[in-house]
């Protein structure tokens, strides 16, 4: 098995590794970098639990090899919050509306929603369902997730307009 040197940025930090060609990106993130927030659900690209941002776009880290991420900019769920012990507005909205139960699909859902909100500050319910339509959740029936993403969008719009509204979030 050939080994390859890779260097990439993960959650803003430069990380390097020497990886076998067949190592998937999700295994690299979880086993080598110990970023275990990204989950493995199906390993065939359907469930979305392993979603990460790859150069700004949501991607299935189970369908990518680690070597393909050489030079890439990766964001995982651990990179969403502004700081340790803090939550992003999106994460906090999920908490406010209990948009999760077992928490297993949650990191992938957050990545999908985060990517949506980067591009669309006022998503409709349809937009939200499109954005998370490739992420499977077995607990929630999606309702509270859809509502939480809408709430996050609303809060983020408010944050852009009025700084003083940010307190209490």
């Amino acid at each position: 098995m050939s080994q390859h040197e890779i260097a990439l940025r993960v959650n803003g930090e430069r990380r390097t590794g020497r990886v076998p060609a067949r190592l998937t990106l999700v295994d690299f993130l979880r086993d080598e970098l110990r970023l275990t927030g990204t989950h493995v659900g199906c390993e065939h690209g359907v469930c979305g639990a392993c979603s990460v941002l790859f150069d700004g776009k949501p991607a299935r880290s189970c369908l990518l090899f680690a070597v393909q991420a050489d030079g890439a900019e990766i964001v995982t769920v651990e990179g969403l919050a502004p700081g340790t012990e803090e939550l992003s507005v999106l994460q906090d909205s999920f908490w406010e509306l209990h948009a999760l139960q077992c928490g297993y699909c949650t990191p992938g859902m957050l990545i999908a929603a985060h990517a949506l909100l980067l591009e669309n500050s006022a998503p409709t319910e349809h937009d939200i369902r499109e954005a998370i339509g490739s992420n499977l959740c077995r607990c929630t029936g999606y309702k509270q997730i859809v509502d939480a993403i809408a709430l996050a969008a609303e809060r983020l719009r408010g944050a852009n307009l009025r700084q003083e509204r940010r307190d209490g979030q």
């Binding site: 076998p20 067949r22 979880r30 110990r34 970023l35 275990t36 927030g37 990204t38 989950h39 493995v40 659900g41 199906c42 390993e43 065939h44 359907v46 469930c47 639990a49 995982t76 769920v77 651990e78 969403l80 919050a81 939550l87 994460q91 906090d92 999920f94 908490w95 406010e96 509306l97 209990h98 999760l100 139960q101 077992c102 928490g103 297993y104 699909c105 949650t106 990191p107 957050l110 319910e125 939200i128 369902r129 998370i132 339509g133 490739s134 992420n135 499977l136 959740c137 077995r138 607990c139 929630t140 029936g141 999606y142 309702k143 509270q144 997730i145 859809v146």
Partner: protein, 795 residues
């Protein structure tokens, strides 16, 4: 009285669940997230045949691969471990983690490779050569019962694992007296809970301590199979579990990993991949054929029902056959049916074994009953809702004893149905459906009225297996207040998304009048030995809730006793407020929470004589109404609490693709007092989504060669945000008169009524074509084919 919700300080109010934060931060601790140095990994070779004798295993090449530490076969496992327990009395049905001598279904584990990485282990599996001799097999449950059918377990001499005939009430007389009868077959094909996290286990043997450590969502029986005393296994229940809904048991996984960890003296990790999970995880769900007849009068009042339920449990029987037993506790649904004959039959086939699914057999039974209600309405030309109204048990009839021996605690079914219809704007829905039909579309409205039995007693065990005279299914909770005054509560099981920590902290906070957010709830491991069972049967709000409340009450009583002694006043002269205790007539004289804690921990001279120092209390809850063995004619109180749900759904069918699109979904729901409404609603939304899957998409399909043909998420289709519509839940509250706060269980809500309601909607949509189906799932290809055949017939 219905809808008069008692006022609580914390119960029923909005509260952010304590568990959510760690999951949102990406810092949940699931079993695959744990890393022990030197961990070895397991990969499995699985049977490609539905039945085959294992003739020869050639594994030298695998053993020689660098990094491989062991290759283990069924023969070795059978010599070193005891068979996995069966719920039924079937001593000749031997089941081990790996097939011994013979494989009995496609995907059955035949051999395990342990290696330094999972990749090496998988490489080694490829190098193993297993010679099989294919044997006759059977995959159809009715064929399996027939004469001359291939036997799944030759030692048993039959594929029939269980057959009972219950008659509750004057069934013959009621059928004879009723002017009208219907008879029908309802088919529920196998689907399952399919959590997004597969089953996983990490095991480590501590040779010095002679202790096996297990990280997994696994309960009893493990030590016994490993021939270890119970106190030589520590199961860590604080590991986060990525969904279960009943299906995640993993006994064979844990026994295998535990055995390997001890043999190799190294941590061993077994994480199913998705194919292993769907094919060899032994967690398929009920696979059931109902033959039902109902006797009724001209007004639609149902007098009697006969139900034969044939369930295909697959190749081995664990607890799965008991899923024919739970529905006995709600065998008449929400209706006042006078007499019932019930014949549950459990049959083995060469398919993946069945495990518990959310509702433990109740949802298929609800579907079978509701199919009959729609057929009767059709037969009489009566409105389906009016028919249900006439048959629903009226509010004033509670507590209501059903023929099979259970008493329904409380309910107001008509009110919940009316609320759901109002929220759905039922007349508007009818107009919408009719307009759609006028435009040439296939559109239908579905109705279902279903029960959610909760908090069970495991009474189905003695009912279906008299050797198991179990009459409790307890749950414990221990509360401690530490020296700093902080409250810590311990529960005895793992959680898989149900919010048990929030449940317990809310209830303890309610009793002690302390902010639940300041109460930490931990999951005791199995050696901490908190008497408990597991979070099944929608029981935790009732059982953990009762245990937490009782422990908190004991603790509060101790605080009051300390204050009474210290203030030299009788108890009735004291007032407890927020943890502080004051003299009722003189609030200025008081002891604060911190002072009381200090006395309890360090001032023995101020404690009442004979009082233990410290502040802790343990309570173990017995199931309300539990403790009774079945009568000779098979009557028993099965569940203490009965929640109710009424579903109203509007659907449109695509004539070309056959896909059913749900355009409006309302669920009226009454589970008594909700401890945390967001959690209850979340589980109900999720249950409905799961029910949508069972009704329209999910099926473990087998071909004629006994091959599972839906072994990936490309074939086994879980509903996504596109298939699950925006659901409206309408709450109603009829408190249970027999629980601590009026709560009922609710973890299986939504799933219990959704398949019935969706089937009802599909059939309403098909009715203008004169078509009817009573087979789930109603997948696009099933409906498409039905429509095509109808089209063909017209030509």
């Amino acid at each position: 009285m219905a809808n008069e919700v008692p006022a609580f300080r914390y119960i029923g109010r909005k509260r952010r669940p304590a568990e959510d934060r760690r999951f949102l931060a990406g810092s949940g601790r699931f079993v695959a997230d744990l890393a022990l140095p030197g961990t070895l990994h397991v990969a499995l070779a699985a049977s490609p045949y539905p039945a085959a004798r294992i003739v020869r295993i050639e594994a030298d090449a695998a053993r020689a691969l660098p990094g491989v530490r062991a290759v283990v076969t069924g023969a070795e496992i059978a010599a070193a471990t005891d068979p996995l327990m069966s719920g039924l009395d079937l001593p000749k049905m031997l089941r081990y983690p790996l097939a011994v001598g013979q494989a009995r279904y496609v995907g059955e584990w035949v051999l395990a490779v342990v290696a330094e990485t999972r990749a090496i282990a998988e490489d080694a599996v490829e190098l193993v050569d297993i010679e099989y001799e294919p044997l006759p097999y059977v995959v159809d449950p009715e064929a399996a019962l027939g004469p001359g059918a291939p036997l799944v377990h030759a030692e048993l001499g039959t594929n029939q694992l269980l057959r009972r005939q219950f008659v509750w009430g004057p069934v013959e007389a009621d059928f004879a007296a009723a002017p009208r009868h219907i008879a029908y077959r309802a088919r529920w094909h196998r689907s399952a809970t399919v959590p997004i996290e597969t089953f996983g286990v990490l095991a480590r043997w501590e040779p010095g301590a002679r202790l096996l450590e297990i990280w997994a969502s696994i309960q009893d029986q493990l030590a016994r199979a490993l021939r270890l005393p119970g106190n030589a296994v520590r199961t860590h229940f604080d590991v986060d579990v990525g969904g279960s809904y009943g299906g995640k048991r993993g006994l064979k996984h844990a026994v295998l990993a535990g055995y390997l960890a001890r043999r190799l003296n190294a941590p061993v990790r077994l994480i199913e991949d998705r194919l292993e999970n769907l094919r060899g995880g032994d967690a398929h769900g009920p696979d059931r054929i109902f033959d039902v007849s109902m006797a009724f009068d001209e007004t639609g009042l149902v007098r009697a029902m006969r139900m034969r339920a044939l369930d295909d449990v697959g190749a081995y029987a664990g607890r799965a056959p008991f899923q024919l037993g739970k529905p006995i506790g709600a065998i008449v649904g929400p209706y006042h049916i006078n007499s019932v004959a019930y014949e549950p039959i459990s049959v083995a086939t060469n398919k993946t074994p069945e495990e518990a699914v959310r509702g433990f057999g109740q949802s298929p039974t609800n579907f079978a009953i509701e199919t009959g209600m729609d057929l009767i309405a059709c037969d009489l030309g009566l409105d389906r809702i009016e028919l249900r109204r006439r048959n629903l048990i009226p509010r004033e009839a509670f507590p209501y004893l059903i023929p099979s021996g259970s008493t329904y605690d409380s309910g107001d079914y008509h009110a919940v149905l009316d609320k759901a219809l109002a929220a759905a704007d039922y007349p508007g829905l009818v107009r919408r459906r009719d307009a759609a039909r006028a435009a040439g579309m296939l559109a239908g409205i579905g109705i279902s009225c279903c029960l959610e039995p909760s908090g069970g007693n495991s009474s189905f065990e003695p009912l279906l297996n008299p050797k198991r005279d179990a009459t409790t299914w307890m749950e414990g909770c221990q509360i401690k207040v530490d020296l700093s005054g902080a409250v810590i509560a311990a529960m005895g099981t793992s959680s898989s998304g149900q919010g048990h920590e929030t449940l317990a902290s809310t209830i303890i906070g309610e009793v002690l009048e302390r902010d639940p957010d300041t109460i930490r709830v931990v999951h005791a491991d199995s050696l901490s030995a908190l008497p408990s069972n597991s979070p099944v049967g929608s029981r935790m709000a009732i059982m953990l809730g009762t245990a937490a409340a009782d422990a908190a009450k004991k603790l509060k009583a101790k605080l009051l006793a300390i204050a009474s002694h210290d203030l030299r006043l009788p108890l009735d002269g004291l007032a407890y407020r927020g943890g502080d205790i004051s003299v009722a007539s003189d609030p200025g004289r008081h002891l604060t929470w911190d002072q009381l804690v200090d006395i309890a921990h360090s001032k023995f001279h101020r404690l009442p004589p004979g009082t233990e120092p410290g502040l802790q209390a343990l309570a173990v809850a017995q199931v309300p109404t539990g403790g009774m063995l079945p009568t000779a004619d098979g009557r028993v109180q099965m569940y203490p609490c009965y929640a109710f749900e009424a579903h109203v759904v509007y659907a449109e069918l695509d004539r070309v693709s056959g896909q059913t699109r749900l355009k409006r979904y309302v669920c009226g729901h009454d589970c008594g007092v909700m401890i945390n409404p967001d959690i209850v609603h979340g589980m109900t939304y999720g249950g409905i989504a799961h029910g949508i899957g069972a009704a329209l998409y999910e099926r473990f399909a087998y071909d004629g060669n006994g091959q599972l043909i839906s072994g990936s998420f490309m074939d086994y289709l879980l509903p996504s945000a596109h298939e699950v519509p925006d659901i409206t839940i309408v709450d109603h509250c009829t408190p249970s008169p027999i629980t601590s706060f009026g709560q009922k269980g609710s973890g299986e809500a939504g799933y219990l009524g959704a398949p019935a309601a969706i089937a009802s909607a599909v059939n309403d949509a098909l009715s203008p074509l004169g078509l009817h189906i009573a087979t789930l799932p109603m997948t696009p290809d099933v409906i498409g084919e039905l429509l095509a055949e109808a089209e063909e017939r017209k030509r």
